[in-house]
């Protein structure tokens, strides 16, 4: 699909380019905020799996421009394994979110104060094996949650991308031990045909008698052992565990019904469609870049 036809198919894509967002996903966070007032009284924010940085852009605009906080009053830390182009007022860390050192670095930036808000828009590359993809997405959320339990203030908010497939009710059940309110939110800018949605977890309540501790070489499963959040542990003879706790979270569609519909096709004005905008940020190079180059050169003969 060319740039202009994508503009037509996806008005958010075009609007993101017009408004200077690095990705259309910026609108998802904006619409989530409209619904949940996520940024109210928020000063210390962590954006996990942040690259290319559209959520950090939203956070930066909100905290510094809209709320008029100074760079001393509000802090935003963006963490990703990939490098990120700098954003005003955002400290970017190229780091692994499961590593204890990353936690230390964030806490340093916050001057030892806990975070008010943690978010993650991360998703693994999908393979097409649904169970494996769901497992990896769950691992990513658990990794984000590990770090969150280590640095979020009681009463703080956690927002993360999820894919609503089988077993999503297990995640809701576990999260509801850790937060007062767990909602599954779907912004209108997220396509109806996509399984994507966001968990908005409000009011962090640390588990009594459990101290979260990030340690090198500890898996997410081991991290949450003892947290007593309804996860099943290994049984003595590795029997199939009893049915695990499953909860269906409340669903809330976010954004106004009059907002652009991400599933609809729009007719652009002739003047609009003539101006083809370049993306704000070029995509990063994929692992198969060399294979693509070889294919272009004709080096990949079919047989």
């Amino acid at each position: 699909m060319g740039k202009s036809s994508k503009d037509k198919r996806d008005l958010y894509y075009r609007r993101a380019k017009e408004e200077g967002w690095r990705a259309r996903s910026a609108f998802k966070l904006l619409q989530l905020n409209e619904q949940f007032q996520l940024f109210k009284d928020v000063k210390r924010v962590v954006d996990l799996c942040a690259a290319p940085g559209s959520w950090s852009q939203v956070l930066s605009r909100e905290l510094y421009q809209t709320q008029k906080n100074s760079h001393d009053e509000a802090k935003i830390v963006a963490v990703d394994l990939q490098p990120m182009t700098p954003i005003d007022g955002v400290t970017t860390l190229q780091a692994d979110i499961t590593h204890p050192k990353t936690l230390v670095k964030i806490m340093d930036i916050f001057g030892g104060e806990p975070a008010d808000f943690v978010c993650s828009d991360g998703a693994p590359d999908v393979t097409g094996l649904h169970d494996l993809d769901e497992y990896l997405q769950a691992q990513l959320i658990l990794s984000a949650l590990q770090l969150t339990t280590c640095l979020l203030k009681p009463g703080g908010t956690f927002v993360a991308k999820i894919f609503r497939g089988r077993d999503i009710d297990l995640l809701y059940a576990q999260l509801s031990y850790l937060f007062d309110k767990v909602v599954c939110a779907k912004p209108r800018s997220s396509r109806g045909t996509s399984l994507e949605a966001f968990i908005v977890c409000i009011g962090y309540k640390p588990r009594e008698g459990w101290t979260p501790k990030l340690e090198l070489n500890k898996s997410a499963e081991e991290f949450f052992e003892g947290a007593n959040i309804g996860r099943s542990d290994n049984l003595k003879f590795f029997e199939l565990p009893d049915p695990e706790e499953r909860v269906i979270a409340n669903f809330i569609a976010c954004g106004d019904l009059s907002d652009v519909d991400s599933d609809a096709t729009y007719t652009l004005d002739a003047s609009e469609s003539r101006v083809v905008l370049d993306p704000v940020q070029m995509p990063t190079s994929p692992p198969y870049k060399l294979a693509l180059e070889m294919k272009r050169r004709g080096d990949l003969v079919r047989r």
């Binding site: 037509k8 198919r9 693994p124 590359d125 393979t127 097409g128 094996l129 649904h130 169970d131 497992y135 990896l136 691992q139 609503r164 497939g165 089988r166 999503i168 009710d169 809701y172 059940a173 509801s176 599954c184 779907k186 209108r188 109806g192 399984l195 070489n217 500890k218 898996s219 499963e221 099943s232 003595k236 003879f237 590795f238 029997e239 199939l240 706790e245 499953r246 909860v247 269906i248 409340n250 669903f251 569609a253 019904l257 519909d261 599933d263 609809a264 096709t265 729009y266 007719t267 994929p286 692992p287 198969y288 870049k289 060399l290 294979a291 070889m294 294919k295 990949l300 079919r302 047989r303």
Partner: protein
């Protein structure tokens, strides 16, 4: 309200899973067994008894089998794992497994693989790079072992080497391969040459090599002793999922890979920096060969499993043998040396024909010389013919009659040479001088025979419209070919008619000629002759489809005044056509039309109801089973622009072929024999397990029963997948789904497919595509044509037709004469049409807009003979319009849709599924399911002309699923089947008090659960569930 999901598992026994078609997630060859992980089901095939399925059972409740290993010891145990589940089965006691006993076990982490260390020790590797040591008898936990590097793994394997070393190869999500030693727990290597996630890593049994593959689309081979990168293999078009070692022969190491690009590949390493690609097997549909294994030593085969649910075996006996005994090649020099003949400078082999009874090949050179090759002795000899053959130089065309050891050839001016052969030589030959072409040039020589009648036909076509077509009939008389009659056929009155193929129908004595520009001429050879003594043209049918040359015609069935034949067109189109003689006229009806996307089609035939096509694709010649969507064989010949001959030996084996071609002045004779073709009764063989689409199924529809025959034990079924394919098949009473055709009419991702009647169905897609299909069930298998197609509203269409509905219109005799049709679009557009069956025309009756949001579905309602349309959209609203007048008037002017008479929000966001139940005359129950997990029962009451409708919610289930509800199908008037992407299928009952109650909920193995329909067989109801695969369940 309870914390717990109340609708995750409810009275599961009310659903009985019957059949499942979906991704093959694991394959393992062990001895003569092929062990397959078919989702949660373990299937075992025995190669020593024709790949018979000897075991099939669902082992895991929810998880799919991703890994299989077998203990080499005396008690041959099979370890299977997937997700968090694992199980151990004894291969020698499969029958003893108690079907009611749960043998599923679980670890609290994703399992990558497992291996038996010895009788008492099972090693299980998890995605956190931890080994669980478990007693396989008692399932007691022994210990956890790790190497202090707990990265997340995509892949991994455990190798117990011939010398007793235990090595773990771990493929991480972040470009590294960790090789560590189980005993010392030390990391031996961290191999970081790949980019991206590692999807496969293995160590060979002697621990000399490591292989790995990744997101970067390359295969890397390492020296196990040094960790040095030895070689890299490029070629896969996308991600590589699986790797295996083959045997090492004479210092050459062979590797086997499968990938996302639907191919399996064989590679060779003999010291070079890059792996040599030896063979590519393009064998599955859609995307992904998820699994594969190879045994190139004893079974000489490899096996692949795809997202299409098919398990396919591939013969390696020919591919791996060093001398390919079935191909022979011959140059002009070879022939000269053997026969002592001298060739002129530019003399070439022009024509060749085989006489299989003598096992000789007859060739004609560009200077008119004739030679024969004895294919038994591989000896060439020059034919000494009593009559000079020089006239055949420069132009000659030559054809053989295999059954009668005769060859005919024509010169440029139409003189015909008839030759009879004995041994390798011509016994008799004579010329028939032309009397009809009057010096005009011959365009083509076409032959046909009828052994029963001892008749052999030779047609000479000449492009001059004044010359007739000359049809000569020969008879074999005491070993000699004798001319028995000559018929002159009136030229089809069309300058562009060039005969390319013919078929003589014996029942009616009709002659069928195929031409360029997809035109067909038919002659009744018994009809009266015109004043010139020519047989009159019966009828010509021009441009039956877009395309160029008809490459073959062959009769499928014939009876008095009616023939059905198969026709292939070079550009890939094939058709089943009926010609009947009715009321003094020939009438032609195309009852099946499709186009293959593989390349050019040069011919086809039907074997065992399967359609086999052959032709050229880039530089290859291929033979393809179109019905099974499987390539039977191919040959790298250089492409279509050459002399070639494709021969079949029906009497020996219908799937033994010979392909003769010239490439770079060399004659090649390639024989194809299919080692597995009798497997599972599949023509072309090799499929040991059937499947379905290779991509997600977006919609499914089951046909009504024949009105006349409700006891019919099959229904037609159509499925539409995201990769543009529509499939037509049958669902049987026992839940088995059989597929007949993959229809290629769409070019973009499908949205919906629906049967209107038993005979008509339609499908819609992006790009404003809407196809109406007509099905013909007069033969053994259903046939289908694209009957009509809606023209897009712009030359550059970018709208999706999200849904459609139709009301069939019947004449007094009950025949369908048209449809009132409604199509809804992604830009909120709504269009109502009248489709006229006889004119194949769409007349726009009503057009309008809802808002600007995407409409998701549409339904017609009829109340008091008035027609209404109801839509559901992404904004969670239901809207209703009265279009009664527009339809009844059916004027030439198009009405504009006014304001909806009802517009009411039911759901928070998109209404994904709507089911209408007609309660009473003026009452409808509407069940809607949304992206918001909710299921709502509403009552729509028509009060009166003035008061209009009332839409009231009767039952609202806010948490009817834990994820998007994707489809609702009617089980009966008060029970519905609901699917959701949470992979739970639920049955909801509408109770007396108009509340909804979940009376059954069961997990389905179909991920991305997106569509459903119900087949009603008298008292038995079978739900069909589609998504990443297809399942059939009996609803009790």
């Amino acid at each position: 309200m309870s914390r717990f999901n109340q609708v995750s598992s409810v009275q599961e026994s009310k659903f009985k899973p019957l059949e499942h078609y979906g991704a093959v997630t694991a394959l393992k060859i062990y001895k003569n067994y092929i062990i397959a992980g078919y989702g949660p089901t373990l299937k075992i095939f025995d190669s020593s008894s024709n790949f018979l399925l000897i075991f099939s059972r669902q082992i895991f409740g929810r998880n799919k089998i991703h890994s299989i290993s077998v203990s080499g010891s005396d008690n041959e145990s099979i370890f299977i794992a997937g997700g968090r589940s694992f199980a151990i089965l004894n291969l020698n006691n499969l029958e003893d497994i108690d079907a009611s006993e749960t043998i599923e076990h679980a670890i609290n982490e994703w399992i990558v693989c497992g291996q038996f260390l010895d009788q008492n020790t099972l090693l299980v590797l998890t995605a956190h790079n931890i080994i669980f040591k478990i007693n396989p008898e008692t399932f007691e936990f022994i210990e956890k072992i790790h190497c202090n590097e707990k990265s997340i793994l995509y892949s991994g394997s455990i190798r117990i080497t011939d010398s007793g070393q235990v090595i773990i190869a771990a493929g991480t999500v972040m470009s590294g391969v960790l090789i560590w030693d189980y005993h010392s727990r030390r990391v031996l290597y961290n191999l970081t040459d790949h980019e991206g996630s590692i999807f496969g890593v293995k160590i060979d049994p002697s621990a000399n090599f490591i292989i790995s593959c990744s997101d970067d689309r390359s295969i890397k081979l390492y020296d196990f002793h040094t960790g040095k990168l030895l070689s890299t293999g490029w070629g896969h078009g996308s991600r590589i999922w699986n790797l295996e070692f083959c045997t090492e022969i004479n210092g050459t190491l062979r590797l086997f890979s499968t990938g996302e690009d639907c191919t399996a590949r064989l590679w060779e390493y003999s010291g070079s920096e890059s792996l040599k690609l030896v063979s590519v097997m393009d064998c599955h549909l859609g995307k992904h060969v998820w699994s594969g294994d190879i045994d190139d030593k004893s079974l000489e085969l490899c096996v692949t499993g795809g997202a299409d649910g098919r398990i396919i075996i591939h013969d390696l006996s020919a591919k791996t043998s060093t001398i390919n005994s079935v191909t022979s090649s011959h140059t002009m020099d070879d022939i000269a040396k053997q026969t002592g003949a001298t060739f002129e400078k530019k003399e070439l082999i022009k024509q060749y024909s085989e006489l299989p009874l003598l096992n000789i090949l007859v060739i004609l050179t560009s200077k008119g010389k004739i030679f024969t090759l004895n294919q038994t002795s591989q000896k060439w000899s020059k034919c000494e013919t009593p009559q000079s053959t020089e006239k055949l130089g420069d132009f000659g065309l030559m054809k053989s009659f295999p059954e009668s050891n005769a060859v005919v050839a024509t010169s440029r001016n139409g003189d015909i040479l008839v030759m009879n052969f004995e041994g390798s030589n011509v016994s008799k030959n004579y010329w028939i001088e032309d009397e009809y072409l009057l010096g005009n040039k011959v365009a083509n020589l076409i032959i046909e025979s009828n052994l029963a009648k001892n008749e052999y036909y030779v047609l000479i076509d000449c492009p001059n419209p004044k010359s007739p077509l000359v049809l000569r009939t020969f008879k074999l008389d005491e070993g000699t070919f004798k001319l028995s009659s000559t018929n002159l056929l009136q030229q089809p009155d069309q300058s562009s008619f060039t005969t390319t193929c013919m078929w003589k129908d014996e029942v009616n004595n009709w002659l069928l000629l195929g031409s360029r520009y997809v035109s067909v001429a038919i002659y009744d050879l018994d009809s009266e002759k015109n004043k010139d003594g020519h047989i009159n043209l019966g009828q010509i049918f021009k441009k039956l489809s877009i395309g160029d040359t008809i490459t073959s015609v062959s009769i499928i069935s014939t009876k008095k005044e009616a023939v059905r034949f198969l026709m292939t067109v070079r550009d890939g189109v094939y058709m089943y056509i009926d010609i009947v003689f009715e009321n003094g006229d020939f009438q032609l009806n195309i009852i099946h039309h499709n186009k293959i996307s593989r390349g050019f089609v040069e011919g086809g035939f039907i074997e065992n109801n399967d359609l086999i096509l052959y032709g050229f694709r880039s530089s290859y010649f291929y033979v393809f089973n179109e019905s099974q969507q499987l390539e039977i064989t191919n040959e790298l010949c250089g492409g279509a622009h050459r002399q070639w001959e494709f021969l079949r030996y029906k009497e020996c084996d219908p799937l033994d072929f010979k392909f003769i071609y010239i490439n770079k002045s060399t004659l090649h004779i390639k024989c194809f024999q299919n080692r597995f073709h009798k497997v599972a009764g599949v023509t072309g063989g090799n499929i040991i397990n059937y499947g379905t689409h290779g991509r997600e199924i977006r919609d499914v529809s089951v046909s009504p029963a024949y009105q006349s025959n409700n006891s019919d034990s099959t229904r037609l079924i159509m499925t539409a997948s995201e990769d543009t394919i529509v499939r037509l098949g049958r669902i049987h009473f026992n839940g088995k789904i059989e597929s007949f055709w993959c229809l290629n009419g769409h070019i973009s991702g499908l949205q919906k497919v629906k049967f209107f009647t038993r005979e008509y169905a339609a499908s819609s897609a992006a790009n404003e595509e809407f196809c109406l299909w007509k099905i013909n069930e007069s033969g053994d298998i259903p046939l289908v044509v694209e009957f009509a197609r809606l023209k897009p509203s712009s030359s550059n269409p970018d709208l999706r037709i999200m849904d459609f509905d139709a009301i069939p219109q019947f004449d007094e005799g009950g025949q369908v004469i048209g449809f009132i049709l409604c199509t809804v679009y992604s830009d909120s557009n709504i269009k109502v049409w009248f489709f006229d069956v006889s004119k194949k025309s769409f007349d726009l009756l009503v057009v309008g807009n809802y808002t600007t949001c995407c409409i998701l579905n549409v339904h017609f309602l009829t109340i008091e003979e008035k027609t209404f349309i109801m839509i559901g959209a992404t904004d969670g609203h239901i809207a209703l319009w009265d279009i009664g007048n527009s339809i009844t008037a059916r004027t030439s002017t198009c009405d504009t849709l006014g304001n909806p008479i009802i517009k009411q929000q039911l759901h928070q966001s998109g209404i994904k599924a709507v089911l209408l139940l007609n309660k009473k005359d003026n009452d409808y129950s509407i069940v809607t399911g949304g992206d918001d997990n909710a299921l709502i029962l509403s009552k729509l009451t028509y009060r009166s002309e003035e008061d209009g409708f009332l839409l009231e919610t009767e039952s609202f289930i806010e948490r009817a699923a834990s994820a998007t509800i994707t489809s609702i199908s009617k089980l009966d008037e008060s029970n519905v089947i609901v699917t959701s992407v949470d992979q739970i299928v639920r049955r909801w009952a509408i109770q007396e008090d108009s509340s909804l109650k979940c009376i059954s909920a069961r997990y389905t193995t179909i991920a991305d659960t997106g569509c459903s329909d119900v087949a009603h067989f008298g008292g038995k109801s079978i739900a069909v569930i589609g998504g990443a695969g297809l399942s059939s369940w009996e609803c009790k």
